[in-house]
Amino acid sequence: MPPAAATNLAHKPPDGGWGWAVVVAAFISIGFSYAFPKSLTIYFKEIQEYFSVSYSEIAWLSSVMLASMYAGGPVSSILVNRYGSRPVVMLGGLMVSAAMVLSSFGTTIIHLYLCVGVIGGFGLAFNLQPALTIIGTYFQAKRPLANGLAMTGSPVFLSILAPLNQFLFDSYGWRGSFLILGSVVFNCCVAGALMRPVSNQKPKGCLPPSNEAVDQGAVADAGPQTADSDPEEGQHEGKGQTQNSKLVDLTLFKHRGFLIYLVGNVVMFFGFFAPVVFLAPYAKHQGIDEYSAAFLLTIFALVDMFIRPFTGFLGNTRRIRPKIQYFFSFAVSYNGICHLLFPLASGYQGLVVYAVFFGVGFGMVSALLFEVLMDLVGAPRFSSAVGLVTIIECGPVLLGPPISGALVDTFGEYKYLYSTCGVLMLTPGIFFFVMHYFNYKKLEDEQKQKAAGEMRRPEETVELKSNNEANK
């Protein structure tokens, strides 16, 4: 049985049609948001030489960008709540683009921090949140699949951006590359253009005519609400969707499911990214050459790429969808077990096996990460929820890799790092299992009470009617 916080939307999600174009748009936005900061590391060595700074100073660029991206979450939520996804994404695309172009003329490292780091980070935040939010408005029945497909953008874009950046760097040096990247990232505006607000949607024109009949039926159903196909009316509907939240919905902190998600995720994120970051260095430490170590990451990315849509598909099946929180708990625990067993791996074959299993785990968690949040709080409050979650997750995400690095430096051994990450993933996994068991129980009780309550009201009106008729 789906939890009570389902679609409290004023319209029926199309679950198809233009929704798939929106999935493509979200694919692009999410792809840029996650992959772009990671792919910039190729330029770091040259920029470090150019500005004569130390390695840690250049690594700060990544951290500033990531911090801005997470800190921009709430701002993004507010804007999406007021204006809808489309303008925010287009603004975000414009911001990152301008940031990259400006930074290509930069004269100091501070210039880069401000442009690429702060403005670029905020621009990417304005891409990520709306992309996730709009999927919730377009999909209900097929939402896990849509989420899984959209999240696949991250590994796909990373696989494209990494060689592209290498090619640009070899041809144009870092300045020219930043200029061209500014135009590449401008494609986020195309993604934004595709993110049509959902109540605008009428099924003709650019779609093939066969969809008409089906969607006409859907429109007729929602007839009384969206009688006028006037675009302005549609925008009002868009605003009206989140009528209970003006700025950021802080009542979410009283929401049981949201709190479970938040607490578990904060612990989980300390150990989520570090194993990826240290996979290649660990391999080199074991004596494996650089190319084979890089190949491990390629295997990991490939597995990740295919697992995400597959996880979305699985999450959509009739068996799993109602209890999707358990699926997420399983995914998190699986990651934990993977890391705990990793020190047993020996030789290059062991590392390859680990890369495959870890790829599966990482992909599963990523695909479900936002789907379960949507499932818990519902589509209207999702925008605020994700804003709050990202700003609170900012801490663990930023602190995770440096703390892990410190662990490696202190002990000189990588296995303590992986054991710690394993524990940091397994504990939230078990926490999720236990807490969601209770949460589902409570939700079922609440559903029963609500259903009982509604049963009584029609009976009362029937009584009233019969009384009226009797009185007549």
Partner: protein, 311 residues
């Protein structure tokens, strides 16, 4: 001494003769028995490199930092022929060293060839080989410490901008005495001297950086960073490419135009559809309003379902 009796003098003289003869015996046992080879004894060599050969050729890299007396030795294991003597010679950079051809005798199943070289300067570095009669040879490549990472792609920078060309000698290799930078091609290299407006050289123990300021197209080409050792200099080539801002501008504008076009197409498509729909929608509205009136007349069920939707 004059007061000593004659017997004491005799005893003293005997003692002296005895010690002298003992010393001579010691000296004789300490002196090395000369080896049955025609070259200089190996005692005066500072460094010794040995190649053990059987049937295949071997190559050895010898890293040199300072001028050195280097003894190169080749030991060829005898095959089934067991010839008592074979001839061999030494060659330098492919050319036979004059007067180096020898006949080597078989000793303990091995033919042992040795030669002492005095490597004084960079011109003495190169490839030295011992070649045996049956064609088996050992190559010794004498060189200064090589650079680890050699960059194969050029460094790209822009006109009127500056560029920093880095050079590094790894921890594992010996420290160079100093660093020098050169420009040119393989045959003719010109050293770059520090000119405050054009070139700045910043060198540390293991790193050196050349900063070329205010670039022009003429500055493009190959630069060599030289790690200087007492015996010679190791060169690391770095290619510099200088381009103008117009080069990346072309793809930049191309992609910008693509984005603007796509966005325009998407918005136009949408506008056209919504126009179609408003004209069709007006007809539908009339129909739907009729349906609405009919439905409202149905009563309570409709009301409860409307309430559900509004939640």
């Amino acid at each position: 001494m004059e007061n000593m009796p004659a017997s004491w003098k005799l005893l003293l003289m005997l003692l002296l003769v005895l010690t002298a003869s003992c010393g001579r015996v010691h000296a004789e046992t300490l002196a090395p028995s000369p080896k049955p080879l025609a070259s200089v004894p190996a005692l005066s060599a500072d460094m010794r490199k040995v190649a053990v050969l059987k049937s295949q050729n071997s190559t050895q890299n010898v890293q040199l930092l300072n001028p050195v007396n280097l003894s190169l030795e080749c030991s060829l294991t005898a095959d089934h022929n067991n010839l008592p003597n074979i001839s061999a010679f030494w060659s330098q950079d492919g050319r036979e060293i004059p007067d180096s051809r020898l006949t080597v005798a078989l000793e303990n199943q091995q033919y042992h060839l040795q030669r002492l070289f005095y490597i004084s300067g960079e011109e003495m570095l190169g490839s030295y080989s011992c070649v045996f009669e049956n064609g088996v040879r050992a190559d010794f490549i004498l060189a200064t410490p090589p650079f680890g990472e050699v960059r194969d792609k050029p460094v790209v920078s822009y006109v009127r901008d500056f560029v920093v060309l880095p050079c590094k000698m790894e921890e594992a290799k010996p420290k160079p005495l100093s660093w020098r930078w050169f420009r040119g091609n393989k045959t003719h290299k010109e050293q770059i001297s520090e000119q405050p407006e054009r070139f700045q050289i910043h060198s540390e123990e293991r790193k050196s950086k050349l900063k070329v300021i205010n670039l022009t197209h003429e500055d493009a080409g190959v630069y060599y960073c030289g790690a200087v050792y007492a015996i010679g200099t190791t060169m690391n080539p770095i290619e510099l490419k200088v381009i103008t801002y117009q080069e990346p501008l072309k793809p930049f504008i191309g992609i910008l135009i693509e984005v603007v076009l796509l966005v325009a197409v998407i918005f136009l498509c949408e506008k056209r559809r919504s126009k179609k729909n408003t004209s069709k929608g007006n007809e539908e509205n009339v129909d739907q309003n009729n349906i609405k009136l009919q439905e409202e007349e149905k009563g309570a069920e409709e009301g409860s379902s409307m309430r559900q939707r509004k939640v």
